[in-house]
Amino acid sequence: MADESGFLPGERLVEAMIFASREPVPLRVLATLLPPDAELDAVIAALGARYQGRGVELVEAGPGLMFRTAPDLAADLRRVVEVPRRLPRAAMETLAIIAYHQPVTRAEIEEIRGASLSQPTLDALLEAGLISTRGFKEAPGRPNLWITTPGFLLQFGLKDLRELPKREELLIDPQNRAGGL
């Protein structure tokens, strides 16, 4: 039955069809690809044997056939791609204000940002281990005081808070800045 290259008639076409298909290919569809005298069972058996023990296997899936990678390789093929998140704008601003003005109350943060501080924003920073509370301010309501954590220093590669760029260097009067540039 097989030609000189060792393929059964229609075997290559069946292989290509199963490979290119999005879904498992039903046997009746494969049968239409074969020359009239070919036997589908023999073609499938030959194709399956060809992939025996390889990185790819021919498997039955529901009413049809499909290729899939050998299950024993799954663990080695798995690749974990780290895609770090960016902090939302509000969280970044809040973090920066706490870094520069700590210890600072929530009300003071809101005063500096000129916008109210939402709980999800605060939660995001807490969850990331970037901020924590330390003590209370001796003021009506005894509000929590917020500070940055050692984790904050680690993330930004700082030895201590004094390594943050100085405020005076950052907040140049816009007019002076324009003149200086």
Binding site: F67, R79, V81, M92, E111, I112, F156, P165
Partner: protein, 253 residues
């Protein structure tokens, strides 16, 4: 008879519609000369083009502008090639003919490139990639990306915004109110028993026009209010003249 006459014209039209613009037609005519594109007869090309445009216009008047622009340019080129008035014109014609030939060669090259691409088996049409890809990639988004630049950028943005808010906060209004005018009028009238001008009761301070007008209005309103309650009397001798005021108890009349 007339039907058979119209036939060749129609075939011309049809063939014109099959071309992607004048250059496409010119290239086709040039190829029909069965010579290398470097040795085409520009004159023959021009004549053929002009003949086709002419017969097309006979049947259909509205021909896209670029066909006519090319026809005009070719007619000019023909005159330069056939009947140049001097050497300058002759050279113009030669240069223009070479430009035309070069444009045709460029288009020919592109056509050949397109044909070369077209002759290749195309993925998704002739060749097929794996239909049901398997994805072994896991995306881990647990980490947060932080860098000093974005921290500083955020801090600057917050400070700038806060600064802007402070700078543009409108100052509280300090205009002379009706309440202020009432108080001043009642307290001063006791010391001024005679008729006097209402304007004398306006506080001297405001220099800004808007503040002055506010003080005027408030004092007039306070005067009207006190006249209504019978605390004082108002008098005006002439329209737009000064308004005079005196306490009701010591009627100065």
């Amino acid at each position: 008879m007339s039907a058979s006459e119209a036939k060749p014209a129609e075939t011309l039209i049809l063939s014109l519609d099959g071309f992607e613009g004048p250059l496409d037609l010119l290239l086709d005519l040039a190829r029909a000369q069965k010579v290398d594109l470097g040795r085409i007869s520009v004159l023959a090309l021009v004549d053929q083009y002009l003949a086709m445009i002419e017969s097309a216009r006979r049947v259909r008047l509205e021909l896209a502008a670029d066909w006519l622009v090319m026809a005009a340019w070719l007619a000019w080129l023909k005159s330069r090639l056939l009947l140049p008035e001097d050497d300058v014109e002759a050279e113009e014609g030669e240069v223009a003919a070479e430009i035309l030939a070069e444009r045709l060669r460029a288009l020919e090259a592109i056509r050949a490139g397109a044909a070369w691409l077209n002759a290749r088996p195309v993925l998704g049409i002739d060749l097929f990639a794996r239909g049901a890809p398997e994805n072994f990639t896991e995306i881990d988004r647990s980490r947060i990306r932080l860098d000093m630049a974005s921290l500083l950028g955020a801090y600057m943005a917050a400070m700038r915004r806060a600064g802007a808010k402070r700078r543009y906060r409108p100052r509280p209004m300090t205009y002379w109110s009706v309440q202020d005018a009432l108080w001043r009028l009642t307290s001063m009238l006791r010391k001024v028993p005679e008729w006097s001008e209402l304007e004398a009761f306006i506080p001297p301070a405001p220099v800004q026009p808007l503040a002055r007008r506010a003080a005027h209005a408030s004092t007039l309103l306070a005067g009207l209010e006190l006249a209504r309650s019978g605390t004082l009397l108002l008098r005006q001798e002439a329209a737009f003249g000064p308004i005079l005021v005196c306490p009701a108890a010591s009627d100065g009349r």
